[in-house]
Symmetry: C2
Subunit: 194 residues, 2 copies
């Protein structure tokens, strides 16, 4: 905070006049990033056809946008797991940021040519959002050159996801799907919004 205040040519106390805490300052960074990415994503979604390439488009925007800040994000990821920590992507305080993301995933899903089971559909944006968080977390600590491994993982997991979504509609799997949805409902009621 002393460094930041000095960089901004103000006294330490002044930083705390404009930002309630170091956390709040970081949150402002999140918000700005989220809004800027939201525009980029909307633009790319308009051009992309098919669910897989749409999801890939969203992921690509995030990775490209955060690429210069990968190490910075790594420092912030310390707080990622605790849903009570305001900086956690699961917290109430970041709910409005999450909403933007969920919206994009919902949009990407509407145009899907894969028939999505009606009972599962409401859970899909949240599920894919969670999948995306996992991928980003992996990316943050991916030390392979140029983060190739994350890209491999992205492609492989995306195509597996497509297979899973296609399979989810099979009549034979109905009982399993019902059980899964029951499980998701149990989780949803808790702090975790999965």
């Amino acid at each position: 905070m002393r460094e930041i205040a000095a960089e901004a040519d103000v006294a330490l106390g002044s930083a705390y006049y404009y930002f309630a805490s170091k956390e709040a300052l970081v949150m402002a960074f999140y918000e700005q990033a989220s809004e800027e990415m939201s525009e980029l994503i909307a633009a790319r979604l308009a051009n992309a056809k098919g669910l897989q390439s749409r999801l890939k488009a969203i992921l690509d925007v995030k990775f490209e946008y955060f690429a210069p800040n990968r190490l910075f994000l790594s420092a912030l990821a310390r707080h990622a797991a605790d849903p009570h920590n305001p900086l956690s992507p699961f917290s109430d305080e970041t709910a409005h940021i999450r909403r933007l993301d969920l919206h994009h995933f919902a949009v990407a899903l509407t145009a899907s040519r894969i028939p999505l089971p009606k009972d599962l559909a409401p859970y899909l944006p949240n599920l894919i959002w969670l999948y995306q968080m996992g991928l980003i977390l992996f990316w943050i600590s991916d030390r392979s050159p140029d983060q190739i491994r994350t890209r491999q993982l992205r492609d492989k997991s995306l195509s597996l996801l497509m297979i899973a979504l296609r399979a989810a509609g099979f009549p034979l799997l109905r009982p399993v799907r019902k059980r899964t949805i029951d499980l998701l409902a149990t989780m949803k009621a808790e702090t975790y919004d999965v």
Copy 2:
């Protein structure tokens, strides 16, 4: 640390003579917990029959053991996501603790009556360990009375896991299984030991 030192009736500096850092002190707590639980788990595994009840036995020991420290664990969970943080359950520093857990899961799996595909088998202990971490993380911030929700989630997810393991052997699902294993191999090479 001042509080801990005072509680132990020594000066602040003495605490740092016996523990390199606050983190190291927490690590000692982890280790002690891990060893004590390991004995409890081994005892119960000897009595339990069937994969599902064995996995349930492992989970039960953990929940029962940590029950008095649930809030304390919640404070520690702050570090859970960053694999570079020594306190993270994914870190190199906690590898020896993880090993004990993995061993128990491996033992539980050997006695399974479900035929486990040979190619998937090596990944199963790690996968179930990860599942268990997720469940514990859920439990830590489960604010439902007496953590009923976690227990529901445990039962529902355990029986779904059994279904998934049974399905994993179906010849029809071989291509999907191969792809999944390929994906797991991609992840395994990274810091994450999934």
